[in-house]
Amino acid sequence: MHTMLTKERERLPVRVDVATPAGSARRARRRIRPSTLFALAPMAVVVGVVYLGAMAWTVRLSTTSSKLLPTYDFVGLDQYERLFANARFLVSLQNMVVFGVLFIAACLVLGFLLAVLIDQRVKAEGLLRTIYLYPHALSFIVTGLAWQWFLNPELGLQRAVREAGFESFAFAWLADGETALYALVLAGVWQSSGLVMVILLAGLRGVDPDLWKAARVDGIPAWRYYLSIVLPLIGPMIVTATVLLAIAVVKLYDLVVAMTKGGPGIATEVPAKFVMDHLFERANVGLGTAAATVMLVTVLAVLTPWLYARYGSTSGRPA
C-alpha cells in the first residue's frame, strides 16, 4: 500500500499534462479571462501569420512553375509528378526512414544505459554527466566535420591503424555508398545520446528510492527492476526524448552537408537537403516547395495519431 501511494504521488507531478478526469472537470469550470487572451494574442498572431502563413504559401508555390523567383500560375500536380519520378528524392525519403529508426533506437538504448549507469551513485558523477552531454553542445556541422576526418580512410582511423602495422585493417564506411548512411547514424548517436541520458536521468531521479528497496526485499534482479518498474514510470520522459530526436531526424541537413554532402553519389541524400538545393542552388522553387510539402505531410502523418492519442481522447491516460 505504501509503495502504491508513493507511486501515485510520483506520477502526478511528472504527468501534469495528462488529462485526468479530475483535471478535465476543473478545466471545464474555469473561464478564460480577457487578460489571458490578451497575453496569448501576440503568439497567436505569430503562429497564424508566420508559421501557418508560410506553410500555406509553400503549398501554394508547389503548384506553380516557379524557378528562381516565385510566380503565381497554376500547374496542378506537375511538380509532384516530377518529384516522385526523381530517383534522388525517393532515395532521400528512404534514407530518412532508415536513419530515423536506427538513430532514435540507438539513442534511446544508449541514453538509457548511460542514465542507469550514472544513477548508480558513481563517483565524479558531475564530471561524467558533463562529458556525456558535451557532444550535444557542438553543432552538427562541427560533429560532422570531426567524424568526416575521423572516418576518412586516407586521413583518419583506417590510416592510423594501418600505419601502426595492421596493413589489412579496413574501415571505410564513408567511402562506400552501402555503409555511408550508417556512418551518419554513428555520428548522430554520438552527438545526441548524451541529451537522452540527461532527460532520462532526470526521470530516474524522480523515481522513489523506496521502490528499489522494496524490489531488493522481494529479491527482484536489477535488470528486471529497471525494465518492468522504472521504464514504465519514466514513460513521459521517453516520449519527450523520442519527439526531440524525431524532430532532429526530419530536420537532418547540416550533419549530412558536413559529413558526406549527400554522397557517395546520392547514397546519403535527405529530404531537407533536396529542398535546400532546389530552392537555392538550382533555382527551382516549384520543385523545392513540393518536396517541402511532402515533408510537412510526412510529419503530420506521424504526429496526428500521436496527438490524437495524447490529447484527443477524454477517457483518460494514454498508454
Binding site: 524557378k67 528562381l68 526523381n86 568526416q148 558526406t260 538550382r282 527551382n284
Partner: protein, 414 residues
C-alpha cells in the same frame, strides 16, 4: 553608480558621433555584395576597392561566404526593396530571371562607350546580355579544366605528362605500381561535374558539348562520341583512391602538391594551393589541357547592378563598371586571383606559365567552351549533376544506364 551613468552617457555620445559620421550622403557610395572571403580572393578584390576609392568613390563591403549564400542574400534584398549598389554572380544565366523581372539596371551606355563587345569572348557577351543590352560587368576568365600534375611523381613512374584521356588511363597503371594515387578526385557533385565536362570537352569536343548543353539536343546522346565520353568517364572511376568521397578540392590538390597523388583535374584557382606551398608552374608541377581538342572551358564572375531611381546610386554603378573593366584593374586583379583578364587588349606576358597558356588558347575562339552555367539553366545543371554523381559513385552502373538517365534529366529539366 555615477561612473555607470557616465559610461552610459559616453556610449550615447560615441554612437551619436558614429551615426553622424555615417549620415553625410557621399555622392558615390557603393555597397557591393560578393563572396570573395578567402585570403587570396579578398586580396584580389582590394585591387578594385583601391581603384574605386582613388576615383572618388566610397566602397561599402558586404562579403558573404559561399556563392549560394551571397546570391540568395542579394536576391532577397533586391526583391525586398533594399538593393545593394552591385552584387556578384557567376558568368552565366544565374541572373537572367532577375533581369527579366526588371530588377536590374543595364550598363549599356558604359559598355558601348568602352567597346566591350569587341574586347571580350563572344560567349561572354551573350552571357552578360539580356534582350540585346549588357547588364553585367565581367571581371575575369577562369579556366575550369586544367589537369595539374606533379612532375616528380610522373618522372618516378616513368610516364610523360598526359595529352589525351587515354594517356591518363594508361599512365595510371604505372603510377599505381609506383605506390602513388594516380588520379586525385574530390568526391563532391560539383567536382565530379567538372571532371565529366572536362572529358566531354576534351574527348568529345566543343561541338558535342555545345549540342548537349547550349542547344539541349537530346539526339546528341545517341552519337558515338558521347558513348566514348561516357565510357572514358566510367573507366576513370577505377583510378581514384578510396578517400575521394566528400573530399574538398583543396584537400585533393594538396595530395598532388605533397606528391601523394600524380594528377588532379581542377579549375585554375587550384594554382593558389601550389603557390601557397611555394611551387611554380613548369617546375614542381605542370598544367595541361587534356584531350585532342585542347578545349578550354571558361567561366568567371560578373557584377550586376540592381535597379534604382537614385541618381547618385546610378552614377556609382556606372563608375564601378568603368573601374572594374579598366585595363589596369583587370591585370592587377587577375594576377592576384589566378585567372585571366576578361579583355583581350591587355598584356599577359607578366603572368605565370599556365595563365599564358590559357591566354594563348583563348585567342582561338574555336577552342573556347563556355562553362555549363553560361549556357544551361541551373535546373538542368542540377539534374545532370545528380546523374553524373550516381554514375561516378556506382561502379555497377554501366554506360547504357548512364546515357538513359542523362536523357531523362535533359527531357525533364531541359
Amino acid at each position: 553608480m555615477r561612473s555607470l551613468k557616465r559610461a552610459a552617457l559616453a556610449a550615447c555620445a560615441a554612437s551619436a558621433i558614429t551615426l553622424a559620421a555615417y549620415t553625410p550622403a557621399v555622392a558615390q557610395e557603393a555597397e557591393v555584395i560578393h563572396w570573395w572571403t578567402s585570403g587570396g580572393e579578398s586580396a584580389a578584390l582590394q585591387e578594385f576597392v583601391s581603384r574605386f576609392e582613388a576615383a572618388g568613390g566610397t566602397w561599402v563591403d558586404t562579403a558573404i561566404a559561399g556563392g549560394t549564400n551571397a546570391r540568395t542574400a542579394g536576391i532577397n534584398r533586391i526583391v525586398g526593396g533594399d538593393a545593394p549598389t552591385a552584387m556578384q554572380f557567376n558568368t552565366g544565366r544565374q541572373f537572367e530571371e532577375v533581369a527579366a523581372g526588371g530588377l536590374l539596371n543595364d550598363i549599356e551606355a558604359v559598355a558601348s562607350r568602352g567597346g566591350w563587345r569587341d574586347l571580350i569572348p563572344a560567349s561572354f557577351v551573350d552571357a552578360i546580355s539580356y534582350d540585346g543590352e549588357i547588364y553585367a560587368v565581367p571581371v575575369n576568365i577562369h579556366g575550369q579544366n586544367w589537369m595539374f600534375y606533379n612532375n616528380a611523381v610522373l618522372e618516378e613512374a616513368g610516364v610523360a605528362p598526359p595529352q589525351t584521356w587515354e594517356d591518363v588511363l594508361a599512365a595510371a597503371e604505372k603510377i599505381e605500381a609506383a605506390g602513388k594515387i594516380p588520379f586525385a578526385q574530390g568526391g563532391e557533385p560539383w567536382q565530379e561535374r567538372t571532371l565529366f565536362n572536362a572529358v566531354l570537352a576534351g574527348h568529345g569536343g566543343p561541338e558535342l558539348y555545345d549540342r548537349l548543353y547550349a542547344q539541349n539536343d537530346v539526339a546528341a546522346l545517341d552519337t558515338e562520341e558521347f558513348r566514348a565520353v561516357a565510357d572514358v568517364f566510367g573507366r576513370l572511376r577505377a583510378i581514384v583512391d578510396e578517400g575521394s568521397p566528400g573530399r574538398s578540392w583543396n584537400e585533393t590538390t594538396n595530395l598532388v602538391v605533397t606528391g601523394r597523388a600524380a594528377m588532379q583535374l581542377m579549375g585554375d584557382w587550384a594554382k593558389g594551393e601550389f603557390l601557397a606551398a611555394g611551387q611554380t608552374p613548369g617546375e614542381e608541377y605542370g598544367c595541361a589541357l587534356v584531350g585532342a581538342n585542347e578545349a578550354l572551358i571558361i567561366g568567371g564572375d560578373v557584377f550586376v547592378f540592381p535597379a534604382t531611381d537614385d541618381e547618385a546610386q546610378r552614377a556609382a554603378q556606372e563608375m564601378l563598371a568603368e573601374v572594374m573593366f579598366s585595363p589596369e584593374a583587370q591585370i592587377a586583379f587577375n594576377n592576384v586571383k589566378g585567372s585571366i583578364p576578361v579583355r583581350s587588349d591587355v598584356d599577359v606576358s607578366g603572368m605565370d606559365a599556365c595563365a599564358q597558356r590559357g591566354a594563348e588558347v583563348m585567342s582561338d575562339p574555336a577552342k573556347q567552351v563556355p562553362q555549363v552555367n553560361l549556357v544551361a539553366s541551373s535546373d538542368l545543371v542540377g539534374a545532370v549533376d545528380d546523374v553524373i554523381t550516381q554514375y561516378w559513385n556506382d561502379p555497377s552502373m554501366d554506360a547504357d544506364a548512364f546515357v538513359a538517365r542523362f536523357r531523362e534529366a535533359m527531357e525533364i529539366a531541359g
